[in-house]
Every structure is written in structure tokens, then in C-alpha cells.
């Protein structure tokens, strides 16, 4: 689902943007926590929230580790939660390679902090219902995830 489609959709119940700073390891994970709080307040199924929390956290850490800065946009529709992350950075040269479990371009600094196991993108794909990633070298990367909600 492209960005334009989502925002033209008048059934948007809630939408919010968060800035993510590259290299800010102290604040890393705060955006994922804030997204999670909104979802809990919205009374969304805790099992679905768990998957969203894991995927969002991994995506946020990727931006902190590898990009200059990024923006996470959360959009809630009656039947789904849409999260997209747009970052400014070096971009990903080979997406297929980046999706391989264990493949990582982490620096020593990043590994010392406990990140860089190479499981981020595969974890996101595993937890999201649909997942789309595009990238342009020297420009940045766009990640889109959709999580379907149960009917209640």
C-alpha cells in the first residue's frame, strides 16, 4: 500500500509522526515505546502489539545504527495498523543480501553496544503481515509494514 493511498483514505482513525536521530544510541528505542503506548491505549490486541513492538524496535534501531535521520509514521485504520519509516542515509546497495539472516554491516562500535546481529530485517519481515522495502543509494531507505487487526 503506497503512502498516498493511505493518507487519501478518509477512514484514518489516528495518525502520528516521530523523528528518529541517527547515532543517538541513548534514545534508541524510545519511538518504538511511544508507538506501543498508543497501541495499548487504543485497546489493540496485545498479541498484535507484541509483533508491532518488535518490528518497530528493529526498524528504529536500523535507522539509529545506519542512517543520518528518519521519520516513523503510525497510521491506524479500522482494520489495520500501517507503519512506515523513511530515512536519509547511505541507502542499502543489495536489499536481498540485507534480508539474509546473519548478514550485517555493523561497525565495531555498534556491535559493542549489543546490536548488529544481522537479524533486524528478517525479524521485521517475520513479524509484519505485509512488508515492503525500497532504497536509493546516497538518498535513503523506505520501509512499510502493515499489521492486520482482528474484528472486535
Amino acid at each position: 500500500m503506497q503512502d498516498e493511498e493511505v493518507f487519501q483514505n478518509k477512514r484514518v482513525l489516528f495518525s502520528c509522526c516521530f523523528d528518529i536521530k541517527g547515532r543517538d544510541f541513548v534514545g534508541a528505542g524510545e519511538v518504538a515505546s511511544r508507538v506501543k503506548t498508543f497501541l495499548k491505549e487504543a485497546n489493540i490486541d496485545p498479541v498484535i502489539i507484541r509483533r508491532i513492538a518488535i518490528a518497530t524496535y528493529e526498524a528504529e534501531i536500523n535507522i539509529v545504527c545506519y542512517a543520518k535521520k528518519g521519520v516513523l509514521t503510525l497510521t491506524i485504520l479500522p482494520e489495520l495498523v500501517h507503519i512506515n519509516l523513511k530515512d536519509e542515509g547511505a541507502g542499502i546497495p543489495d536489499i536481498e543480501l540485507a534480508m539474509k539472516e546473519g548478514y550485517s554491516t555493523a561497525t565495531e562500535e555498534i556491535r559493542e553496544l549489543g546490536f548488529g546481529a544481522g537479524m533486524g530485517l528478517p525479524n521485521i519481515k517475520k513479524n509484519a503481515d505485509t512488508f515492503c522495502i525500497t532504497s536509493e543509494l546516497d538518498k535513503g531507505t523506505l520501509l512499510e509494514m502493515v499489521f492486520y487487526l482482528n474484528n472486535t
Partner: protein, 448 residues
């Protein structure tokens, strides 16, 4: 006097006439935002409260307290028994060991004393047996601290099935007393009253309110603070018989943090080294559970989580310094090193019969959602954010809520109004003043 859970009391007169007089101490110290100030006094929101006791500790006027019974009421039982939390051992001076403390406690009107520490050791063995057969999601979380159990029920219900299904040490101690001691007495079950001596309100409430965590084997409880004076006097008078203690290094270590995982780590039943952590303090536990929710701490298998800093010796209903008490517990651990320990084989049969297990599953009591249904919750969320943008965002507490975000939620839920914020009220006064100035500066063109 306002009463919550039949245990927590708020003395409204003390709130209003004290140094705080309707201020911000309790609302700011509560780690789960469960307190509000209304008409000059504190009110507790029962559904959010986890009974950790921070408010009891931090109120400068001691307006909040916990009480259940008086010592007089022990006379209603033929055979009243005291089961003290191991935190009690850290409450008295250097020369005063467990036998003297138990003896003096008994003198207050009990026919017998049985140590909750024994329940701790049994809980530890039962936990080892459970972990050796468990193959489900991790990390697993200790069930010993009822404030943390309540935190999980209300704010992290996703982890309900990761709370160890072993009963708490105090309940195991009560059950063990019934099983091993009562049959040898010449009294019926009904005539026996079993009373817990508690370091915290959470344990008192868990005993008093079966709907919270489950039914209790106790007939009631006493805060350590209530009995401390009497025990101290008895100790000074010397008019008591010391009562033999059954503790060892393992059981007494449950009084402070690190006690529960001590044996687990030693036996390495929880896998690789470094896969167990100890977290004390509600805000710290919240932080760690948030991290687990995000998928961090993947290698952690067991969390010993305690609401009070340093564990039960730091409970809100203890007397004296928690760090000194923890030091005394460490001394007892060294002193009681050689004492007899419980062996797994001794408890295996009873474990398999479910004797050490929590009799009912934990109920989720989520409180974070803003509405009963998703649509209602989302509508309120949007409205809450709209109101939040109008508020100053400095979290001053003057409205009686701990933060602007909480006030916005209270307004959406119909509990407060926007003019409860003194800055919004001031804005309205300023607008009015500017209007008055505007008209006052106008003179009719006909005047000289």
C-alpha cells in the same frame, strides 16, 4: 478516613492540614499514576494501584497507611500463629538474632511462630522443578512479589503466562504449617488463626482480597510497623523465651534481592551463565519489561523482579534503613551457612500433586486502554491528544494529576475539567483582562 482494598487508609484530615496540604508528593511518587489530589486530599484509583507502598513511604505527613487487625483480635482464636516475612530479621540491632526476634514476636499474643523463610526455600525448589520441565516462552518472571504480579496484570498482561505458576513463599509457609504442624495439635482447623507479619501493603492486600491474585491461606496480617514497638519493648524487657529458628542461608536470603536467583544460578538450571537478572524498584521493572516487549533481552531466562529497592527489607511497612537491613541479612546468610537444606527429592511428590502451585490462573486486568472497544479507545485517544496540545506540558501537578498527559486523559474520561489546569484558568483571566483594558482605553469621540 478513606479505605481502599480494606487495607490502605488515607487520612484526609492529615492531607489537608499537613505540610503538603493538597500538594504533589504522592501523585508524583506513584510509579503507575494511580493517585490524584481532590479537594486537598489524596484519592487512590484502585484499578490502577499495584499496592507497592511508595505513597506510604513518601508522604511527608504519613497520611497514607496500611492496617488490617489489632492484636486484641488474636483472642478470637484458640491457636493464633504468626508467620513473619524474613524481612523482619533485618529490623533489629546487632546482637538480636532470629531466635530472639521470633520469641519476642510470639510473646505479643501468638501460640506459635512459623517462618515464611521456609516457604521461600520451598518456593525455590518448586521453581527449579518447574523450570526443569518448562519449554514455553521466556523470560520467566518470579511470582513472589504481589506488587509486581499486579503490575503485570494491569500494565503487561501479555506476560501473565510467563509469571512462574509457583505459589508465593508466604502462602507456601502457611500451607506447610497447616500440613505439618496442625495435625499434631489438639485443636481443630477452625480454631487456628494464621497471621502474616508483612513488610509491605501488597502482601497484606493479596491476603485480604482473594479477587486480586487468588485465595489466601491466611486469616489476616499485621504490618511490621504496627508490631515493631511491642517487639522492641519485649526484647528490651527480656521477658520472653527465644524460639528456635529453622532458617538456613538459602531461606534467609529471600529477605533481600538476589535471594531467589542465588540457588537458581548455582544449579544453572536456567541455562547459560548471565541469563538471570534481578530488578528492584517498580520504575526499573517497568523499564525492563518494556525492553522485553520490544524483543530486547533475548537471552534472559529468568527475572527476579521486586517492587521495593533491595527487596522485602526495603518494604514500605518496614522500620529503619533498608541498606542496613540488607547488610544484616547478608550476615545471617554467612552465619547460617552449615544448616540443613531442603532436598529436591523431599518435595518432588508434593510438587507433582500441585501443593506448591498457585491454585488459579492469573487474571489480566488491563488498565492502559482508553476505551472498552477499539473504536471508542481511538476516538478518546484523538480527543486526548487534542486537549494535550492546549495544556502547558510542564507536568506541575497543580491540577491534582501527575502530568499534563494524565490530566488530558482524565478530562477525556470525565474525571476532570480543563480549568483544573491553573495555567488554562490564568489564560482565561488574562483574556478577560485584555478585553477590559481594550474597552477601558476607549473614550467617546464627543469627549474633550
Amino acid at each position: 478516613m478513606e479505605n481502599y482494598f480494606d487495607i490502605l487508609r488515607v487520612d484526609q484530615e492529615k492531607c489537608i492540614s499537613g505540610t503538603c496540604h493538597g500538594g504533589i508528593h504522592c501523585i508524583m511518587t506513584c510509579p503507575v499514576e494511580a493517585i490524584r489530589v481532590y479537594e486537598g486530599h489524596a484519592i487512590l484509583m484502585e484499578e490502577k494501584c499495584i499496592a507497592c507502598g511508595r505513597c506510604i513511604r513518601d508522604c511527608p505527613d504519613h497520611s497514607i497507611s496500611a492496617e488490617d487487625l489489632t492484636l486484641e483480635e488474636l483472642k478470637n482464636y484458640q491457636y493464633p500463629v504468626a508467620i513473619p516475612s524474613p524481612a523482619l530479621y533485618g529490623q533489629f540491632g546487632r546482637g538480636i538474632g532470629p531466635e530472639k526476634i521470633l520469641g519476642a514476636l510470639k510473646k505479643l499474643g501468638f501460640k506459635d511462630v512459623f517462618e515464611s523463610a521456609v516457604g521461600g526455600e520451598l518456593a525455590g525448589v518448586a521453581t527449579r522443578l518447574f523450570l526443569s520441565q518448562y519449554k514455553g516462552p521466556k523470560p520467566l518472571i518470579s511470582s513472589a512479589c504481589p506488587a509486581i504480579v499486579r503490575l503485570i496484570q494491569t500494565r503487561f498482561p501479555i506476560f501473565i503466562n510467563q509469571v512462574i505458576p509457583v505459589e508465593s513463599p508466604r502462602e507456601i509457609a502457611a500451607k506447610e504449617f497447616r500440613r505439618t504442624v496442625i495435625p499434631n495439635l489438639k485443636v481443630s482447623d477452625k480454631e487456628v488463626g494464621i497471621f502474616y507479619v508483612a513488610p509491605c501493603p501488597a502482601e497484606m492486600i493479596a491476603i485480604k482480597c482473594p479477587e486480586s491474585i487468588g485465595p489466601s491461606n491466611f486469616n489476616g496480617s499485621f504490618p511490621i510497623t504496627q508490631l515493631y514497638g511491642n517487639i522492641f519493648e519485649t526484647l528490651m524487657s527480656g521477658d520472653y523465651e527465644p524460639h528456635p529458628s529453622q532458617i538456613n542461608s538459602v531461606s534467609v536470603s529471600w529477605a533481600a534481592i538476589g535471594g531467589e536467583i542465588r540457588e537458581l544460578e548455582k544449579r544453572l538450571l536456567v541455562g547459560k551463565e548471565g541469563s538471570t537478572i534481578v530488578v528492584d524498584g517498580v520504575r526499573n521493572v517497568i523499564k525492563v519489561l518494556e525492553e522485553v516487549e520490544n524483543g530486547q533481552l533475548k537471552d534472559i531466562e529468568f527475572i527476579e523482579a521486586r517492587a521495593c529497592l533491595r527487596g522485602c527489607v526495603g518494604g514500605a511497612l518496614t522500620v529503619g534503613d533498608r541498606y542496613v537491613a540488607a547488610s544484616k541479612v547478608r550476615k545471617l546468610i554467612r552465619e547460617f551457612k552449615g544448616k540443613k537444606r531442603i532436598k529436591i527429592e523431599e518435595v518432588q511428590d508434593l510438587y507433582e500433586q500441585g501443593f506448591y502451585s498457585r491454585p488459579y490462573p492469573l487474571k489480566a486486568r488491563p488498565v492502559v486502554a482508553l476505551g472498552e472497544s477499539r473504536m471508542e479507545a481511538l476516538k478518546k485517544m484523538v480527543e486526548r491528544d487534542r486537549i494535550l496540545k492546549l495544556l502547558p506540558g510542564i507536568d506541575c501537578g497543580s491540577c491534582g494529576a501527575p502530568s499534563c498527559r494524565v490530566l488530558a486523559e482524565d478530562i477525556v474520561q470525565g474525571r476532570k475539567e480543563i480549568t483544573d489546569c491553573i495555567f488554562k484558568l490564568r489564560e482565561k483571566v488574562k483574556d478577560l483582562a485584555e478585553e477590559v483594558l481594550k474597552w477601558a482605553s476607549k473614550t467617546p469621540s464627543s469627549m474633550p
